[in-house]
Amino acid sequence: MHAIPTHIRLELILIAILLPLVSLFTFWYVPLSIDAPQGFGAESEISPRFAPYLLAALMAAAMIGRLAQIAFMKSRGTLHEQIDDLSEIGGTEETRRGIVLNTATMLYCFLLVPVAGFYAASVALVTWLVYRLGERRIWMAALVGVACALFSYLLFQELLSVRLPRGWLLQTFGG
C-alpha cells in the first residue's frame, strides 16, 4: 500500500471543497439569481442559464477527471511521480504575511479610500507598507507615502484633469 504524498492529499482536500461549491452554484445560485424569461426555458441553448450551467458542468468534469486519474495512479503505485506544484508557493509564515497584506489592501479600498479619500488613504497605506517591508526610519517611510500621493496628484489632477476620490470626510466637512 503506497502512502499518498502530501501535495496530492492537499489537492484532494481542495477538490473536496471546490466540488460542493460548484454544485451549490449550479443547483442553488444559478436558478435563484438568473431569471429565464418566458420563452427562454432553462433547457434552451439561448437561455441565460445555458453558459453558467455548461461552465459549471465542465468544472465538475475537470475535478472528477482528476479524481479518477489519482485513483488510477494510486492503483498502479505511480502517485509519487506526480509533480509537486505546491512546493514553490511558500511556507506558512509567507502565507500569514500575505493574509496580513491582503487585509491591509482590503481596508484601504473598502474603508480608507471611501472615507478618508484617495490621497490620505494612499499616504497611510504606502507609509505602513514601506515600514513593514524593512524601512526602519519612520519619517522616511512617511516621506515615500507623501511623495507618492503628490506624484498621483500632479499626474491625475494637474496633467490628466482626473479628480481622484475625495472621501466622505472631506465631502462632509471640507465643503
Partner: protein
C-alpha cells in the same frame, strides 16, 4: 497600396515616433527592475493611454511592451529574477555568464537575439495576418466557436503543472466573463444586485488586479532579506563586455531556428512564450556539438530562448489581427489598448479600414529598430537599475494600480475590483492555479458564448445538427489544421517534459 501608405504615414509622425521611444525607454527601465514584470508594467500603463491620441497611445504601448520584454531578460541574467515566465529559460545560461563577470556580453546577446526573433515574427505577421484575415472573412459562428474553443483548450491544458488546474482557472475566468446582462435576453447574470456589474466586469481592473496587484502581493510576502537590493559586477576585460562577430555568427543558426520555432508556436492561439523558450533551449542543446556547455554559460543558451520568446510576441498578434482572438496575455493587453481606442481587430478591419493595422505593423518594426539602439544604453546602466529597493517600489505600484483603475470610469468600485482580483489572483497562485488561462478565458468568453449560441440555434433548426458543421468546408479544414498543429506541438512539449522528468529522476 494606398491603405498601406496611409498606415505607414500614421505611424511616422513625430508624435508616434516619440511615443515609441518614450514607451521603449519606460518599458526597458521598468522591465529591468526586479519584481516588475513586463505584463505588469504594460497593464499599469493601459488606462493612461485612454487620455492620449490613438497614434500616440498605441505606439507607446507597443514600445513599452517590447522594451519591458528586453528589460525583463536583463533581470533574468543579472539577478536571476526573470521578469516574465518566458525569461526563465534565459536564466539557465544567462546567470552563469553574469557570475563569470560576462553579464554585459550575455545582455548584448540577449538584445541581438530578441530583436532578431521579434523582427522575424513581425515580418511573418505582416504577410501572414492579411492572408489569414482574407480567409477568415468566410468564417461563420461555427468556425469562430471552433477557433476560440481550440485556443481555450490548448491554453488550459498546457498552462501550469496540472492540467485540471489550468482548465479550472480558465473556466473560472469564463464564468467571470459572463457576469452582466445576458446578450440575448438582457437578464442580469451573477451581478449580485450591483448596478456597476450589469455592464460586466471591466477588462482593465481585471488585468491590473491579476497581473500587477496579485504579483506585488505575492512578492511582498517574501522574507525581507529576499527583498533587499541586488548587487552585480561586470568584468573589465573588453572581450567579456561585447559580442564579437564570430560569436554572433556561431549563434546565428540557433537564433534562426529558434525564431522560426517561436513564430510557429506563437501563431497558435493558446500556447505561451514560456513553452517556446524552453522548446528552443532544449532544441539548441540537443543539436549542439557541445551540449555539456549548456547550463554553465553558453551564449547559444541565452540566444535560443530569447529569440524564441520574442518571436512569440509578434506571432501572437497573428490570431489577434486576423481573427480578433488574442493568443496570449501579451496579445490580450494589446487588444485591450486597441479596444480603448475604438479599434476592433479582426478580418473586417482588414477589409474595411486597414490603415490602423498597417500603422501598428510600422510601429512594431520601428520599435524593434529603436529597441536595438536604446538597449545598449540600458545595458550600461543596468547594474544601477536592478538595485532599485523593492520596499519602495512595491507600495508605489499598488497606488499606481488603484489610481489607474479609477481613472478609467471614475468609480471607486473599480479600485475595489482591482484589489479583489488581486486577492483572488494571490489566492489562486498560492494554490498553484495558473492565472493566465483565467484572463484569456475571461476575454474570450463573450466571443465564444455568442458564436456558440448562434451555432447551436442554427444546428438545432436543421434535421442533422452534425451535418450542419461537417458540411462546411471551412469548418472541416480548420478542424484538420488545428488538430495537426496541436498534435505536433503537444508531442514536442510532452517529449521535452518526459526528458526533463527522466533527467530529474536520474539525478535525484
Amino acid at each position: 497600396m494606398d491603405s498601406i501608405l496611409a498606415g505607414i504615414q500614421l505611424a511616422l509622425t513625430w508624435q508616434s515616433i516619440g511615443a515609441v521611444l518614450l514607451g521603449l525607454i519606460a518599458g526597458q527601465l521598468l522591465g529591468a527592475i526586479p519584481g516588475l514584470t513586463a505584463t505588469m508594467a504594460v497593464a499599469l500603463l493601459i488606462p493612461y493611454t485612454y487620455y492620449l491620441d490613438p497614434w500616440v497611445g498605441i505606439p507607446m504601448l507597443i514600445g513599452m511592451f517590447k522594451g519591458s520584454l528586453f528589460g525583463s531578460s536583463i533581470t533574468a541574467i543579472l539577478v536571476k529574477t526573470p521578469g516574465t515566465p518566458a525569461a526563465a529559460a534565459t536564466v539557465l545560461d544567462g546567470y552563469p555568464l553574469a557570475q563569470q563577470g560576462k553579464g554585459e556580453k550575455a545582455c548584448k546577446m540577449t538584445l541581438y537575439a530578441s530583436v532578431f526573433g521579434d523582427s522575424f515574427s513581425d515580418i511573418v505577421l505582416i504577410f501572414g495576418a492579411s492572408f489569414l484575415a482574407a480567409i477568415a472573412l468566410n468564417f461563420g459562428p461555427a468556425e469562430y466557436t471552433l477557433l476560440v474553443a481550440f485556443s481555450l483548450i490548448t491554453m488550459g491544458f498546457v498552462s501550469g503543472a496540472k492540467a485540471w488546474k489550468g482548465l479550472f482557472a480558465m473556466l473560472l475566468g469564463m464564468l467571470l466573463g459572463i457576469i452582466g446582462l445576458d446578450p440575448v435576453t438582457a437578464s442580469p447574470r451573477m451581478t449580485m444586485g450591483f448596478l456597476e456589474m450589469e455592464e460586466g466586469i471591466g477588462l482593465i481592473p481585471m488585468l491590473i488586479g491579476f497581473l500587477a496587484v496579485a504579483e506585488v502581493l505575492r512578492q511582498m510576502e517574501y522574507p525581507r532579506k529576499k527583498l533587499a537590493a541586488s548587487t552585480v559586477s561586470f568584468s573589465t576585460d573588453p572581450a567579456d563586455r561585447r559580442v564579437s562577430w564570430a560569436e554572433f555568427r556561431s549563434c546565428l543558426p540557433v537564433i534562426l531556428k529558434s525564431s522560426s520555432l517561436g513564430t510557429a508556436v506563437g501563431a497558435l492561439p493558446g500556447i505561451s512564450a514560456t513553452v517556446a523558450a524552453f522548446l528552443a533551449y532544449n532544441e539548441a542543446k540537443r543539436s549542439s556539438k557541445t551540449p555539456e556547455r549548456f547550463g554553465k554559460g553558453a551564449l547559444e543558451g541565452v540566444a535560443a530562448p530569447e529569440a524564441a520568446n520574442n518571436a512569440v510576441s509578434g506571432a501572437n498578434l497573428i490570431p489577434l489581427m486576423a481573427f480578433g482572438i488574442p493568443g496570449d496575455i501579451a496579445a490580450a493587453l494589446i487588444l485591450s489598448a486597441l479596444l480603448i481606442q475604438g479599434i476592433t481587430p479582426g478580418p473586417v478591419i482588414f477589409r474595411d479600414n486597414p490603415e490602423p493595422i498597417y500603422a501598428i505593423f510600422t510601429a512594431l518594426l520601428l520599435a524593434n529598430l529603436f529597441n536595438l539602439v536604446l538597449g545598449h544604453g540600458l545595458i550600461r546602466i543596468a547594474r544601477r537599475v536592478v538595485q532599485v529597493p523593492k520596499r519602495v517600489l512595491f507600495p508605489v505600484v499598488l497606488i499606481i494600480a488603484a489610481a489607474g483603475a479609477y481613472a478609467m470610469r471614475g468609480s471607486v468600485f473599480d479600485i475595489q475590483l482591482v484589489f479583489l482580483f488581486g486577492l483572488l489572483g494571490w489566492g489562486l497562485t498560492k494554490l498553484a492555479f495558473p492565472t493566465v488561462p483565467l484572463l484569456i478565458g475571461f476575454i474570450l468568453m463573450p466571443i465564444l458564448e455568442s458564436n456558440l449560441r448562434i451555432s447551436m440555434l442554427i444546428a438545432g433548426s436543421v434535421p442533422n445538427p452534425f451535418g450542419y458543421f461537417f458540411a462546411r468546408p471551412a469548418f472541416v479544414t480548420l478542424l484538420i489544421v488545428m488538430v495537426l498543429l496541436l498534435v505536433l506541438v503537444l508531442r514536442r512539449v510532452l517529449r521535452d517534459r518526459q526528458a526533463a522528468r527522466a533527467a530529474g529522476l536520474g539525478s535525484g
